[in-house]
Symmetry: C2
Subunit: 537 residues, 2 copies
């Protein structure tokens, strides 16, 4: 691949140099990584938006097969550039090569799955109600409708998934698959990775004959470019994965526009894990090991990291706790994604300490580099209810054991929880019926409820829901992972009394795309195989 240039990708061209620059840093060594990155100039933000808006007029009308070909071209391009991408990404994030290889595989899987979803087409929910000129008292008009793309979408790259939730990540794939154009604001911790991936996307757009501006990539290590994007009148929706403060700021900005727009901000989650007494009695050691592996995975830098664990008080719980202490103490120090992530982790640990959590394993870290040592804390239900800050996310390898006395104590704590991405329960089969109301309570709080497994690891499939009520996300109705994510950057449009040739192909009588459709309320057959990778059954 060509050398990194450190300039925005504006359509098929590059942004202008300007006064504000920044560098990536190797979090493992502190080394400054070349080249310098240009914070996108305001005129170039405008230009990216104007290009995206012009491109939308053509791209939103591209055939689904053309959008699918684009997504597949990006996937192939990423595979072709695998080595330079992974190499730069490792230097910028300190994530191990095996993890990055897997994440690249996940990224290309997401792109190809979204290509299949776009092509299969039933996500658009095409519906037809035919006319009845003889209806009394008034004739019935012909009404047809489907989901349509929104316009230019601003996507913010995440720190912790430099590939799968960044430049060509989930939101970009969803937005492009639905027919939106995309402007990505790269995460400042991995601009070189972002540029490498962005080059692949831009080259794929060009090779697929798509209009300039279908994709642009902007840089900034501050807030200016992101704020300008969200404020820009041509931008029609926002996807964000990051901190609660960052997400809430974007939600406020979007709401203050003359024309408010949807924001899908995935923010924080403590992903509560409830261990019921029977499971604790029978599987204490395995649970401690599983939990330890889950909360320290990737130096705890997962949005599904279990940060609050509910364990019964008493001797059985004490044994579990002691075992977990030993595992936590023996966890090797990990390098976090960047110095600012490491610093935030240390502040998070200080917050727990300040709120009175008992340190069981301290999470000491060297203050000079981006390292994070696993940390374990204890509190009880009354203390957690009195200091709800204990139940807020610490991003990193830390978890808090909340010891409960009985079922009522447990339910009180669960009722006090905020919205979550996930909630997990470990139980013996015979315990579940007794705790039915607890399960329902958790299903009312979370996007995904898990039984006898750990929440880390988010399958990219058809049923996955990666979302959840506020503050886990800003919009709990949607998912950012899985095939349903294509719906988030769309809205319904109805066409009344349109002649056939003026209708989108999805709504024409001849059904040229062979879609499943709802016609006068009856579901009519399309392709039977669907988009599964296995036969349905």
């Amino acid at each position: 691949m060509s050398d990194l240039q450190g300039l925005s990708l504006l359509g098929f061209g590059r942004g202008a140099p300007g006064p504000r620059t920044f560098h990536a840093q190797n979090p493992a060594t502190g080394e400054r990584l070349e080249p310098s990155y240009q914070a996108t100039e305001p005129a170039d933000v405008d230009r990216a938006c104007a290009l995206a808006s012009q491109a939308f007029e053509a791209y939103s009308r591209a055939l689904a097969s053309e959008r699918a070909a684009f997504l597949r071209a990006i996937a192939e391009g990423l595979e072709g550039a695998r080595e330079p991408i992974v190499e730069r990404c490792q230097a910028e994030t300190a994530l191990p090569p095996a993890r990055l290889q897997a994440e690249l595989g996940r990224t290309t899987h997401q792109l190809r799955l979204m290509a299949a979803v776009a092509e299969e087409g039933s996500w658009g929910d095409a519906r037809i109600d035919t006319a009845d000129p003889d209806r009394k008292p008034a004739p019935r008009p012909d009404v047809r409708s489907m989901r349509r793309a929104l316009g230019p979408v601003a996507v913010f790259g995440s720190s912790n998934f430099p590939l799968a939730f960044s430049v060509a990540g989930g939101d970009t794939a969803s937005a492009l698959a639905a027919g939106n154009t995309v402007i990505v604001k790269a995460h400042p911790l991995h601009p070189g990775t972002s540029e490498r991936v962005g080059e692949v996307v831009a080259a794929s757009a060009r090779r697929c004959g798509l209009p300039e501006g279908t994709f642009s990539l902007l840089f900034d290590d501050g807030f200016t470019v992101g704020e300008s994007l969200v404020r820009h009148p041509l931008v029609q929706a926002v996807g964000f994965t990051g901190s609660r403060a960052g997400g809430e700021a974007l939600v406020r900005l979007a709401a203050s526009r003359a024309q408010p727009i949807p924001v899908y901000a995935e923010m924080g989650s403590v992903n509560p894990v409830v261990v019921l007494p029977g499971a604790l009695r029978e599987r204490s050691r395995a649970l401690a090991e599983g939990l330890h592996a889950s909360f320290t995975l990737g130096v705890g830098q997962f949005c599904t990291n279990p940060g609050v664990v509910l364990i019964e008080a008493g001797a059985v719980g004490d044994v579990f706790e002691q075992h977990l202490v030993e595992l936590t103490r023996s966890t090797p120090v990990g390098v976090m994604l960047g110095a600012r992530i490491g610093a935030a982790y240390r502040r998070g640990l200080e917050r727990l300490r300040g709120l009175g959590a008992t340190p069981l394993s301290e999470g000491a870290t060297r203050a000079d580099v981006a390292t994070g040592q696993a940390a374990l804390w204890r509190t009880d239900v009354p203390a957690a209810l009195a200091a709800p800050g204990l139940l807020e996310e610490v991003f990193g390898p830390s978890t808090l054991l909340v010891r409960y006395r009985d079922a009522a104590d447990l339910e009180r704590l669960v009722r006090s929880l905020d919205g979550q991405l996930t909630a997990s329960v470990h139980a013996l089969p015979e315990e579940l019926p007794t705790f039915g109301s607890l399960l329902r309570l958790l299903a009312g709080k979370a996007g995904r409820v898990v039984i006898n497994q750990f929440p880390t690891g988010v399958e990219v499939n058809h049923a996955m829901v990666h979302g959840g009520p506020f503050p886990a996300t800003s919009d709990g109705r949607s998912t950012s992972v899985g095939t349903r994510a294509i719906e988030r950057f769309s809205r319904l449009v109805a066409y009344q009394n349109f002649p056939q040739e003026a209708l989108p192909p999805e709504l024409q009588d001849a059904n040229p795309r062979a879609l499943w459709r709802v016609i006068n309320g009856g579901r009519t057959p399309g392709p039977v195989a669907g988009i599964g990778d296995r036969p349905s059954g």
Copy 2:
């Protein structure tokens, strides 16, 4: 039916009397209508929310057939109480009995259609991805998901549909069908109608054995009760139909909560009608008659009322204009829904005049009662672009002709339009290909695009979209009319590794509800007939 009591319906009981009361008024006569209505006391708002939240735990788990039976019981109850409801409603709104009879029919149709949608069940989008313990590198978990209800929903009755968009109207039917509990804030212009309908809903809930608090009804002629509802921590979503100022205020309130919640506010729309030159040449008289009937229907008190009409400049347009002037001048004065609606209409006309619109037919009204005289205005494209307030809604029988010079002039005006519920085009068949970009532009601005018909009249069917980009609504992704409206008060929830008996029936292997589901990406058959009232095809 029993005498009206003027007190809130809190679950199966009544609210307490208190200091703030108001009366309905007959808009045709100015007569004060008994009884006095009690503005719900703060403690009673709390109680309605607490009851709704408790009831939600059971109601959200009711079988779909039980929710459907409830909706059908409401429909039957409304038919049983048809005469007293229509009589009171006519006194409160001055709407003619035939219109109210039809609106009651529409309301019961909505309820029964939502019952069918709930029962058929595919709205829940049930999906199953089965486990694969042999997958490498990690086993694949079993993940299942579907849409679930949100919790207590606050519904604000509208002024202009005292039955179809009020106490047992569209949002109530959608929310209840999906498994939410509902607290309605009655519109202050028709509290007696609201009480009559509310009694039917509460009695139906009781007869169906549903928990107390599944439904409550609150009164207020000010903002206190509505604001308290939207602020209440137990309320999980809001449905509103009314003014832009009112809708935006609720959106701001909901966003300022500790836990922000979705608000579906349907606000204003001018429903632009574009008449292309060929259609104007060939159908001038019929278009003038159709447009006149559409903008004066129901004294112009429809959210789909065409308030801006684009007509070519020149002699052919002048003839159309002159014909429309004659029709407008000969329109009988109508009684509006209330004195405050009449006053707002007069202010709206003054606004158009102040912004420089040329009055063609003046819309003079008597200032003392709630009457509205049809009004017609003219401007041109440069003037409308210079004073965008001309393109904002006047609620009532007024429309503004915007004369355009050529296609470029027309496109400039259309590009400047805000989001709309509807946009209509009148064209000869041979004109449509030339104006393809105009049609796409309108589809990008509106929830429903109509060709060669008028926008008033919203079918309640499967394909209808009654929504649209801001400011037509606060959330253009959704529809308030049609079977898809059931989705708005729901969110996705995933269940990972659940034993069969802990899953909702919709997600169990045995598929006891015989639903269409997506299994490993393939669509698997459920009932073929669907929910249509006619055979599909």
